[in-house]
């Protein structure tokens, strides 16, 4: 009976419907006993984070949604001295407003910074999974963020129904060991990209073989614009070799601390 959230970053269109629907459901609305209102401004029980990756003109933008991960080993539950935080049978982690004393210990305990403190109400608050909607039996049978998602980027349901997605998914900060119930597909890694051209002819070089080594390896071939892309890379140091018709060039010490456009490379 346990629910999971699936967040597919590749499908997300960055429309912010999820973030705004959460505000629509929870700001100014008192869903007692499940939740008191979320502040109108500046707090995000459901937050869409924009990441601009790369450098001109090899730039991509990724949107990664974060909200409470409803962890099976939730540190917030342990940290709460008031037993206000509990794990429901359906897997949702719930901060019971009636019991919360406002001590803020759960805010520090959460490795995902998903718990906010409502200064007006002196309450710790976070995503409820819209449990008030699920429990009342209709007509809305999924969290508002999922209901509002324009793409198929957000899904919610029984864990058993998502076994294939979960088998390919990651969780955020697995090193924290909290066993989140929010799974992510296609989380952006790092890329190395560039363009290869021949300075003597002032033409792009099509079909050059690009070989990456170091913290990962792979090969790519330049396309009709002389472009090559290596995606899904780890963070680390790489070397890049480009070859075509006996000409070659090498670039060492490419760091993927950030996504990298190595620029327009002259193959001569």
């Amino acid at each position: 009976m346990a629910k999971v959230f699936i967040n597919d970053v590749a499908e997300c269109g960055g429309c912010y419907n999820c973030q705004v629907a959460c505000k629509d459901e929870h700001c100014g609305n008192d869903w007692s006993p499940y939740a008191k209102p979320q502040p109108v401004w500046g707090q995000f029980w459901c937050k869409l984070n924009e990441h601009v990756r790369g450098q001109v003109p090899k730039v991509k933008v990724a949107y990664v949604l974060t909200r409470c991960n409803h962890c099976d080993d939730a540190p917030c539950i342990e940290a709460c001295p008031d037993t206000a935080i509990s794990k429901r049978n359906d897997g949702l982690v719930w901060i019971e407003p009636a019991k919360c004393s406002g001590c803020k210990l759960c805010l520090d305990a959460c490795p995902y910074e998903s718990i906010y403190f409502n200064e007006d109400l002196k309450l710790a608050q976070k995503c409820t999974g819209c449990a008030h909607l699920l429990d009342r039996g209709g007509p809305i049978d999924e969290p508002r963020c999922v209901d509002a998602c324009a793409m198929s980027a957000l899904m919610f349901g029984e864990e058993s129904a998502f076994s294939s997605e979960i088998s390919q998914a990651e969780v955020l900060k697995p090193e924290e060991g909290t066993n989140p119930r929010a799974y992510y597909l296609n989380l952006p890694k790092r890329f190395i990209a560039g363009t290869v051209y021949d300075p003597s002819s002032n033409e792009v070089v099509i079909g050059a073989t690009c070989t990456l080594s170091g913290a990962g390896s792979g090969t790519a071939t330049t396309d009709e614009f002389g472009d090559f892309w290596f995606e899904g890379l780890a963070v680390g140091a790489f070397s890049l070799k480009i070859e075509k018709d006996g000409k070659s060039l090498t670039k060492d010490n490419i760091s993927t601390e950030e996504d990298v456009n190595v620029g327009d490379l002259a193959l001569s």
Binding site: N17, D24, P33, R88, V146, M151, F225
Partner: protein, 963 residues
């Protein structure tokens, strides 16, 4: 999407969860509906107290009322038995409710209404007179939303309205603190026209006092009479810039004041008032350029299927098509773009900035300097000519004047400059090798162009019409109209297909009644193309007011030169407008707004919902209802087509009235209150809604009673794609039989109309060219070229301005939930717009992300917060106008991010009456503390005015005693 549901159609899903409909759920107080596997999410905590057990089974459609009571904490236990006579599973749920008895808030009854949230349909739930949520409207059973099948794959739109966050939350504007709540009069203005008592110089600065509707209507009526008696009715104008108003039907939207004033003036004086003439805006490139190539402004529909089936490369050129979320079809754009990627259509984006669409869906971004698109296109053509890779057979039969274009590109014309990639590279910033690669990729595969929408489009900027013409030139060179060679233009909706029945419900607008009465009683039928009556050019209003005469060219018959003032007509001395969005949706914002400080304008009346944009230039302001405060009937087209009955859901705030009732108040003072129509007692919104329904002839499809029950009647929008070839295929197949509406019937690479009518226009020439402009002394309208202009010494950067993703123009900036997505708080606590600046430009100016910066030129200053980022190229600045008309000084300093404030004085070019808010020279600098303090001293009223970063400027800040 719920995974469990995704496997079956929504109607099936409903059957499985019991026969409980949305409306069933909402019946009665203290009602709990239990159906299907509710209670699956169990609360583990359990506390003592009185309990009530409710049991139901899946097979019994039911609503069950819980009985709760007693003092202290109340516990309700709901037991649901799932299954019929066979195996059952019982789950128990215990909910701790706050003490005192009664129904827990989450169980309180809600009423669902259909809400036409400005431009899209949502289901809104209302409780205790308040909307508690607004969400996509789920389609009724049997509706088949928009789909396309191509390349063996199908795109299927979901069974719910594809609303954006903007549409979902538009209702929040109802309780915006920037709502105009009652009629107000500027404190230092008196009616009567005495210059000493007008204090025109204080417009935009001085505060207002509250007056009654009766007082306001009396003042407006008396001023109309006084001005018309003194100068003639041509001294009265309806000029305004509304940005975009709410699309109300039966209570009318802004604009009805024009209908009424014409009726009154023609009846009383026998001549009309001076209506405003607006420049070409969103589609300016097509209107002022495109039509001279292919005879119309933009290519028609359908073509989505043709692109999906046949196009291999889509060039998003000055295009941000997925940003157009204000439309009813909202997020469908992004779904289709995603699907196009999945079926293998390569998307490239060519833009100075990495647009939202480009960032998410393009496989390649080719940045170029703002307003150099025409140079890039000429160079692409050069490659095609040089390598013989264009469709000569097509050109031989489909083109007129092609030799002129070829001569220009190859440098064999009088100009003598070959438009080689080497020529274009330093101008555009695109490397020679990339220009050649782009030209070859394009020539090698069916390629379509996507242009416009809310991108940093170059089709409505300085000299922009030439770019639009060249897009068509290049498409023509590759066989425009052929499979996969299309143009997705400014207004094109990628959702195509029509509903079986028309649901047009616009016939009962009060404005229509008024104009009908006017025509019947005066015998005068006015047209926007009239040449014998006076118009005033809205987009050159500064010139009309401060330095007349002014001449300009119509946007309809563009060889019809207009002049203001016309002989025998008065200059305008009174304006009754609606919104005054000069700085948000028009060019030359400061100059156009500041002109309203002229004492020539003895009375300015505005009517609006919000104290936004330039409303503060008015002397009298009337408060108008928002759409959620009205009842109405709408026709909505998104991925399906809907007839929507919208119930009044919210109590009208303050003393706001509908636009119709606002003009009626004035009409009554002029003796026209009972003359506006012949409806008698049926002159009510409810009667007009019923009349609209009756006039639509839909009784066979949905009865009036059913519509009142269901609120929305939907139809599938379908197109038999096989029966609907791409819009331009007929011309492609046989131009003789299917000629274009050009004089030659062909694509005109040399426009006969331009050659005949404006042969000496060096800006809009018969053959489109890359126009760079220059000093006025040499006969140029604009001098904004970053490489050639002397002005570039002081202002070396080029500014692109675009509307933000969560609003139209500068409006809608008072919804905190969309506002907080991108607004940046400055050191002064003010929420500013974000401005993208490349790290190279930022470093050269000592600017870091988060700094308060000023974008400035000789027109003034616009403030923003710097976002140093890689989505802008060096030399080109990008600003989302977001904060609206919030000014430190109405004539020189805007802090709402309205870059339009400092765009050039004149329109697109001398003879092109189109807006020009994009592609002009500026400089950027960090605002120093010293400069900021100087502004505080110079403009104390602006800094003292009440403000809330969550909402922006607020109404109370403008009312005396309200601060």
């Amino acid at each position: 999407m719920n995974k469990d549901q995704s496997k079956q159609p929504r109607n099936e899903e409903k059957k499985q969860t019991g026969e409980v409909t949305r409306r069933d759920f909402l019946i009665g107080a203290g009602t709990v509906v239990v159906g299907g596997a509710v209670g699956a999410g169990l609360l583990s905590s359990c506390s003592g107290g009185e309990t009530t057990t409710v049991t139901t089974t899946k097979t019994v459609p039911t609503t069950v009322t819980t009985t709760v009571g007693g003092s202290g904490a109340v516990t309700v236990t709901e037991t649901t038995t799932v299954g019929g006579s066979g195996a059952t599973a019982t789950v128990t749920q215990t909910v701790t409710q706050p003490g005192g008895g009664g129904t827990a808030p989450y169980l309180e009854p809600e009423e669902t209404i259909a809400l036409y949230n400005h431009s899209g349909l949502t289901a809104a739930e209302v409780k205790n007179g308040k909307i508690v949520r607004s969400r996509p409207w789920h389609f009724a059973d049997g509706i088949e939303p928009f789909s396309i099948t191509a390349r063996g794959q199908t795109f299927q739109a979901p069974m719910k309205t594809p609303v954006s966050s903007f549409v979902m939350t538009y209702y929040k504007r109802q309780d915006s603190p920037n709502r105009i709540l009652y009629p107000i009069q500027r404190v230092d203005w008196e009616p009567g026209g005495d210059p000493a008592k007008i204090n025109a110089q204080n417009r935009g600065k001085s505060k207002y006092k509250r007056i009654t509707w009766d007082e306001a209507a009396t003042i407006i009526a008396n001023e109309l009479k006084r001005v018309a008696d003194k100068y003639g009715p041509s001294a009265i104008s309806d000029v305004y810039s509304g940005g975009h108003n709410e699309p109300k039907n039966v209570t009318n939207s802004a604009g009805i004041h024009t209908n009424f004033m014409q009726y009154w003036a023609l009846s009383e004086y026998g001549e009309p008032i001076t209506e405003h003439h607006g420049a070409a805006t969103t589609s300016a490139g097509g209107q002022l350029g495109g039509r001279y190539v292919w005879g119309h402004d933009y290519e028609g529909n359908p073509k989505t299927h043709d692109i999906s089936e046949n196009c291999e490369m889509l060039l998003g050129w000055c295009c941000d098509s997925t940003k157009s979320w204000i439309q009813a079809y909202g997020t469908t754009q992004q779904m289709v773009h995603k699907w196009w990627n999945k079926i293998g259509i390569k998307q490239l984006h060519i833009d100075p900035h990495l647009t939202h669409t480009g960032a998410l869906y393009a496989s390649k971004w080719i940045p170029l300097h703002t307003r150099t698109d025409a140079a890039l296109m000429a160079a692409i053509a050069y490659v095609w000519f040089s390598e013989d890779t264009y469709n000569k057979e097509y050109i031989a039969t489909h083109a007129y004047g092609f030799d002129k274009w070829q001569a220009y590109v190859m440098g064999t014309d009088a100009e003598g400059v070959a438009k080689t990639p080497e020529w274009a590279a330093p101008i555009t910033g695109v490397p020679v090798y990339t220009i050649k690669a782009l030209a070859r990729a394009w020539a090698s595969k069916p390629t379509s162009i996507m242009n416009g929408r809310r991108g940093a489009g170059c089709c409505r900027g300085v000299y922009a019409e030439g770019s639009t013409r060249m897009w068509i030139y290049l498409l023509g060179m590759q066989g425009w109209g052929g499979p996969g060679v299309c143009y997705i233009g400014m207004y094109d909706d990628i959702i195509q297909g029509s509903a079986p029945k028309s649901t047009s419900v616009t016939t009962q607008r009060p404005s229509t009644d008024i104009t009908n009465k006017q025509v019947a009683e005066t015998g005068v039928r006015l047209s926007g193309n009239d040449t014998d009556r006076q118009f005033v050019p809205r987009d050159l209003i500064w010139k009309a007011i401060t330095a007349p005469p002014v001449e300009w060219w119509s946007t309809g018959d563009q060889f019809n030169k207009r002049t203001y003032p016309m002989e025998g007509k008065s200059e305008i001395h009174m304006i009754w407008g609606a919104g005054f969005a000069y700085t948000g949706s028009r060019g030359a914002g400061f100059k156009n707004l500041a002109a309203h400080r002229s004492p020539k304008l003895e009375c300015i009346v505005g009517a609006n919902m919000f104290m936004e944009d330039g409303m503060c230039m008015c002397d009298i302001i009337l408060p108008i209802e928002v759409i959620t405060e009205t009842e109405d009937i709408f026709s909505v087209s998104d991925t399906a087509a809907h007839l929507v009955l919208q119930k009044k859901s919210l109590t009208t705030r303050g003393e706001a009235r509908s636009d119709y009732m606002a003009i009626k108040a004035v009409a009554e003072k002029l003796g026209y209150g009972d003359k506006l129509n012949d409806r008698g007692a049926d002159d009510t919104p409810a009667a007009r809604i019923k009349a609209s329904y009756d006039a639509a002839n839909l009784a066979d499809s949905i009865s009036w009673e059913d519509l009142n029950e269901k609120l929305v009647w939907s139809q599938s929008r379908k197109t038999d794609w096989k029966e609907a070839p791409a819009a331009s295929r007929g011309f492609y197949d046989d131009p003789g039989k299917n000629p274009l509406r050009t004089p030659s019937g062909l694509l005109e690479y040399e426009s006969q109309l331009l050659l005949e009518n404006h042969p000496d226009d060096k800006e809009r020439q018969p053959t489109a060219k890359f126009i760079r402009g220059g000093p006025a002394s040499e006969g140029w309208t604009h001098d904004e070229d970053r490489l050639l202009s002397a002005r570039a010494q002081d202002y070396p950067l080029t500014l692109n301005v675009s509307t933000r993703r969560w609003g139209r123009h500068s409006q809608h900036s008072d919804i905190p939930w969309t506002r907080e997505i991108k607004y940046k708080i400055g050191f002064d606590g003010y929420a500013y717009s974000e401005c993208w600046i490349n790290p190279v430009d930022a470093e050269a100016r000592g600017i870091k992300t988060g700094d308060l910066i000023k974008l400035y030129n000789d027109k003034g200053i616009v403030l923003a917060i710097a976002e140093v980022c890689e989505r802008a190229i060096a030399g080109d600045i990008y600003l989302e106008k977001a904060g609206g008309g919030d000014f430190i000084d109405i004539a020189s300093i805007n802090r709402g991010g309205n870059g339009n404030c400092i765009s050039p004085d004149w329109v697109m070019s001398y003879r092109c009456y189109g807006i020009q808010p994009i592609g002009f020279l500026i400089e950027v600098a960090k605002v120093s503390g010293e400069e900021y303090m100087e502004w505080k001293e110079m403009y104390p009223e602006a800094f003292e005015r009440k403000y809330d970063p969550k909402y922006g400027p607020i109404f109370e800040g403008w009312v005396e005693g309200g601060n």
